[in-house]
Every structure is written in C-alpha cells, then in structure tokens.
Amino acid sequence: MLNFVQSAAEAVAGISDGATVLIGGFGNAGQPMELITALLDGGATGLTVVNNNAGQGDAGLALLIKERRVDKVICSFPRQSDSWHFDAAYRAGEIELELVPQGNLAERIRAAGAGIGGFFTPTGYGTMLAEDRETRMIDGRGHVYETPIYGDVALIKALTADKAGNLVYRKTARNFGPIMAAAAINTIVQVGSVVPTGDLDPENVVTPGIYVNTVVRLDAPARTERERSRQ
C-alpha cells in the first residue's frame, strides 16, 4: 500500500535489524542521502547493503559502515580514494564483501524484480569472481550462473512522484532506482516534488507506482554543505 510521509525519519521507521537494504545512486547522482542519514539516525543494525560502492567520505553509507551497522556489502566498486571507513572495517575483518561485476549486480537486481530464479551470463567467466561458481558452455561461450538479489527495503531517489506513486528520474540519476524499486518488498523513495495523479505523461513514467510503497518529498538539499556540516 502506498503512503506519503512527512519526513525521512518516518519513511525509514519500519526498517528492521538484519534487513537487506538496496540503496540507489551512482556517485552523488540518484543517491538518497537523506534517507540513508535517517537510517543511520534510526539505529537499525546488522544490515546487508547493496549499492554500487561501499560509501564515500564521511556521510551516508560510509557512516553506517563506520558505526558497524553494516554486516555485509554487495557492490561492484568498494575501493575509492575516500572509502576509508569501508577500508578500515574491511581490513579489520568487521565487514563482509561480496564483490560483483557491475552488470551482474544490475542484472541480478533486475532478476529479483522480474521473477527470474537465476541466469547465465558471460561476464566474469574465467575470472576469480567466478571461482566455485556454476558455469555452462552456451553456444561455445563460457557462462557463469548468477542469482537474484532481493531487497527487504529499497532506498531510492527520484525527481518527481505523482500521487499514484509513479516516478520519473533526472538524467544519469536514474541508474539503479528503477530496478531496485522492483526488487524490494518495501520501496521508499525521496523525491523533489509530488504532483497530482494525471500530471505525469503515462508514456514517460519510468517506475510505475506498483513498485513504490513510501514517498517523502524533501526540499532539494544543498548536499555538499550538509555533508560537511554533519561532521
């Protein structure tokens, strides 16, 4: 059931300890920073987080990891110049890493939303990321067996929602949002604006409302300022 709430804190209130949380965004584009911050403030722990990265700088996911609220990260690119909180947790053996090629990450999330039980892909075949994995030769080409990544919760960011929960995104901020919305039981979205049902052109809806559970409108944040001031 779709509901509209007034704050990020309210939006994430139902997230339990031990939940698998899909977090959208690639770089800052599409990153639901306010929802992540609310998750941090809310106290849920023992989380599995699925994101392209493993946190940057001293904000959002990086702080969740710093505070040891994340037991496991499933991502494609944890190592960055400013991924120091992940790096420290990883080297201390206090976080589990499942490293997944980015296309497999996307396709596995898509599979979860689409009811696909598993699939074969050439990506990763013959590499150490496919060690101990089921493989199959298909038309003479090596393939690796990959399984869906389901979320208990998805935290994503979109540009606009209508009152039916339909979403549109902006430029490359679309990235993981649509597939994560479909892969999670409970999809929570922060948007810049909410418009009446009927204001979005049905041809241009990217995420239909069926995939959305909770919407919170947040004023466009002055993000860089905000992140800095948090420290």
Partner: protein, 222 residues
C-alpha cells in the same frame, strides 16, 4: 584505417599518450557506438571528429554523452562512469542500470577502449586487480565491458617501468575477461589479436625484430 600516422617507421618516435589517443580515435569506424574506459581511454574522445558520428555510451545510463562539463554546465545528475560531470549531446538518451548494461552485455557496442595491466597472446585481459594480497578489490563495469563489446581495444604502455612486457603469453594478474581483446594500442606498436595469433600492425620508434626480441610472445609481421 589509421589516419595521419604511416606504419612501420622504425626511425620515428615512440608515441605519447595524446598521439596514441589520436591514433585510436582515427581507427574508430564512422557511426560507431563506443564506450571509453576510465583513465587514458577517455583521451580518445578529444580526437573524435564530428564527421565520424561516434556516439559515446556511459554505463551509468546514457548514450550520446558529450564532453566534460565546465562552469555552469556542471550538473550533479549528469556524470560519467568516472563520476565526472559531463554534458549531453543532441540525440542522447537515458536508461536505468540494467538497460545500460544489457546494451553493453548484449553486444551492441561496437568498440570499447580499456586500459590494462596485461594482455595475453589470446586476448585475455587483466586490468582490474594487481593481485596484491592486501589490496581491496574493486571491479566496477570492467568485466562487462571486456566481455560485452564487439571489439575491445586496449591502450597501454608496452612495458612496465621495470621493463617487463605487458603483452604476455599468459596473464599473471587476475583476469578481467577471457579472449576478449582484439587490438592493443601501445606507445611502441599496435597489435592485432586474431585466431592466427598476434600480428604487429605498425611500430613506433622500434622495429619488428626489436619487439620480437623483447616480448615473449610469438609475433606475426603484417
């Protein structure tokens, strides 16, 4: 295919990075859809001409990517795979991550240009992990690019600082993809990898004989 640089010039100089980027750019066929990897391959975009009608793909969800954004063009929602703000060209389109990687993995990109630690004589690519025991691994889209594009071009220096050839019989670094590289553009030569082996297309500041002496892979003369 290569424009402005004649082949087999043993007396001429080794190529600099910009010259190499220009060479790669000139080799990309008109109307191609291309993904340029992070780092050195990005330089190629500076030498693509309007007449080539090359469309750039960025795996974070866009076709028709334009040059790096400057000043007022900078938009947090419009970045490339290296998370650098970029611009949008007429005819661009946006799509989500699964659609973007489906495009790549489905074999729709004509060329992808990547850097490398090593390439093997059969086109195996190693470019994501040095295998150092204390390194935190990160793969990003490298494996998808390596296995998905119709042609994978590698741009790299031919030798490490210690003088070891990066074109090898068998990669010692962890693989990114198996048998995926079709061309290697280096500062000293361009290599074509085909079913019959590794062919030297052209050399820069060196000779075929010199290359064969320094590289432990059997080379075919063009």
């Amino acid at each position: 295919m290569s424009k402005g640089l004649s082949s087999k010039r043993p007396g001429s100089q080794r190529l600099g990075k910009e010259q190499l980027a220009q060479l790669v750019a000139g080799d990309i066929a008109q109307g191609s859809f291309v993904n340029l990897g992070i780092g050195q391959p990005t330089l190629v975009s500076n030498y693509l001409t309007a007449e080539q009608h090359v469309t750039l793909h960025t795996e974070n969800g866009m076709l028709g990517m334009g040059p790096v954004a400057v000043g007022d063009q900078i938009d947090e929602d419009l970045i490339n795979a290296g998370k650098i703000p970029v611009t949008e060209l007429p005819g661009a389109s946006y799509f989500h991550h699964a659609d973007s990687f489906a495009m790549m993995r489905g074999g729709h990109l004509d060329v992808c240009v990547l850097g490398a630690f090593q390439v093997s004589a059969t086109g195996d690519l190693a470019n994501w992990n040095t295998g150092a025991p204390d390194a935190i691994p990160a793969v990003g889209g490298a494996m998808d690019l390596a296995t998905g594009a119709k042609d994978v071009y590698v741009m790299m220096s031919l030798f490490t600082k210690e003088g070891a050839a990066k074109l090898v019989q068998t990669c010692s670094y962890p693989l990114t993809g198996v048998g995926c590289v079709t061309r290697i553009y280096t500062n000293e030569a361009v290599f074509l990898i085909g079913p019959d082996g590794v062919r030297v297309r052209e050399t820069f500041g060196t000779t075929f004989a010199e290359l064969q002496e320094r590289i432990g892979v059997e080379l075919l003369d063009d």
